[in-house]
Amino acid sequence: MTTGSVSPPPHHEDQDLIDRIIGDQVGRPGALLGILEKLQDRNRNKYLPMETLEYVAARTGVPQSQVYAVATFFALFNLDPQGTHTVAICRGTACHTRGSRALLERVKLQLGLREASDDADKLTLTTPDRRLTIRTVACFGQCALAPVVEIDHAIRGHVKEQALMREVDALRKESAR
């Protein structure tokens, strides 16, 4: 509900930006998706904090539960802070038969990451230092290149365990500097 005072988002310097993004889109059908997408893109850690969702609901008049439903329905939206670099491992059928599970397990082992529960809808794991995020993708549509791994939006095909490890180590060292 929009009653009462609207609590500002956590970072006051971001408020102008958030207000502008909402102002540009509000009133258009399906505006909520565009607003959430832009807000996540502008976020330092590429995610939608709860405070932001609350603020969006209050400013747009969309019920909080609906904002939350949209933010959790689309795999695109993150509700947790993301790492500086993203490694997305394809878990589609073609990549699975070419050993993408082994790639995923190897990376998880290397980074010491474990799934919080098997119940998670999508797998998104971030290292505690927020340098790397490992996630799975249903299919990149590049099945001829299986197994496929996307590193910071660049597709790599025919990925071998050792090559992937080298890439991951390079990313960790790079962002450590």
Binding site: M1, M50, A57, P63, S65, Y68, A69, D119, D121
Partner: protein
């Protein structure tokens, strides 16, 4: 929208109004079509797939709750294929959550239980999911048990369309879908909730119940919720 159309339901010719759905016409003429997510007075979403019917000239089954009637439409509300289909839907609903009638406040007054009995579902052919789910007891008067939720979204629509508060929605997708209040806040802390209890009355199972009732004791006043919409019409 006062165009009269003639439709045939199970062979009987029935006069209906254009714009009505197959389910509305059938129910008005005492033809039984089962449904779980449909409730009079709420918008139809076609989510439960129990009201599937055969329409002549259409190869696939259509949901009666969202299919409008047309002149000359011929509908079969039951057939061996439909029956086996409905039975499967009920079995899959039972498998998805932890439905334990023996300890449920709504046992004996539960729409899912009644449907299972009516369709002769004595056992299920699929392995149970046994998901680990929580029970929200934070509201002073009501309780939400996710184990018994069938995601029919009647509470969501009752709250949004009749009460106008829109406390509820369904978060996540597929098998991970969950009913949430506001930003997944405990029900008791949801400031937009007016504690009117209409969601509880609309719930077909024991997922939402009033506190203080024992096993088999919670009866619900669904007609009262539906009546609110019909009383408001024409205002």
């Amino acid at each position: 929208m006062t165009d009269k159309v003639k439709v045939r339901i199970d062979g009987e010719v029935i006069a209906a109004t254009a714009g009505q759905t197959i389910l509305e016409v059938a129910r008005a003429h005492d033809k039984y079509i089962p449904a779980l997510c449909y409730m009079e007075g709420l918008s139809a979403v076609g989510a439960c797939r129990l009201c599937m019917v055969e329409v002549s000239g259409v190869a696939r089954l259509l949901p009666a709750c969202t299919t409008p009637v047309q002149e000359g439409l011929a509908v079969a509300t039951t057939s061996p294929q439909i029956q086996s289909y409905r039975k499967m839907v009920i079995e899959l609903l039972l498998v998805e959550r932890n439905h334990v009638c023996a300890v449920c406040v709504s046992s004996g007054h539960c729409e899912l239980q009644t449907l299972a009995q009516d369709h002769g579902v004595t056992h299920v052919r699929y392995p149970y999911n046994y998901p680990r789910l929580s029970v929200d007891t934070t509201h002073p008067r009501y309780v939400l048990d996710h184990n018994r939720c069938v995601l029919c979204s009647r509470c969501v629509r009752t709250c949004a369309e009749i009460e106008g508060a829109h406390v509820w929605d369904i978060a996540g997708r597929g098998i991970h879908s969950r009913l949430v209040s506001e930003l997944q806040r405990p029900w008791g802390e949801a400031t937009s909730c007016t504690s009117c209890g209409k969601c509880v009355q609309a719930c077909p199972t024991g997922a939402m119940a009033e506190k203080g009732w024992g096993v088999e004791e919670m009866t619900k006043q669904r007609a009262g919720v539906s009546r609110l919409t019909s009383m408001r019409e024409g205002q």
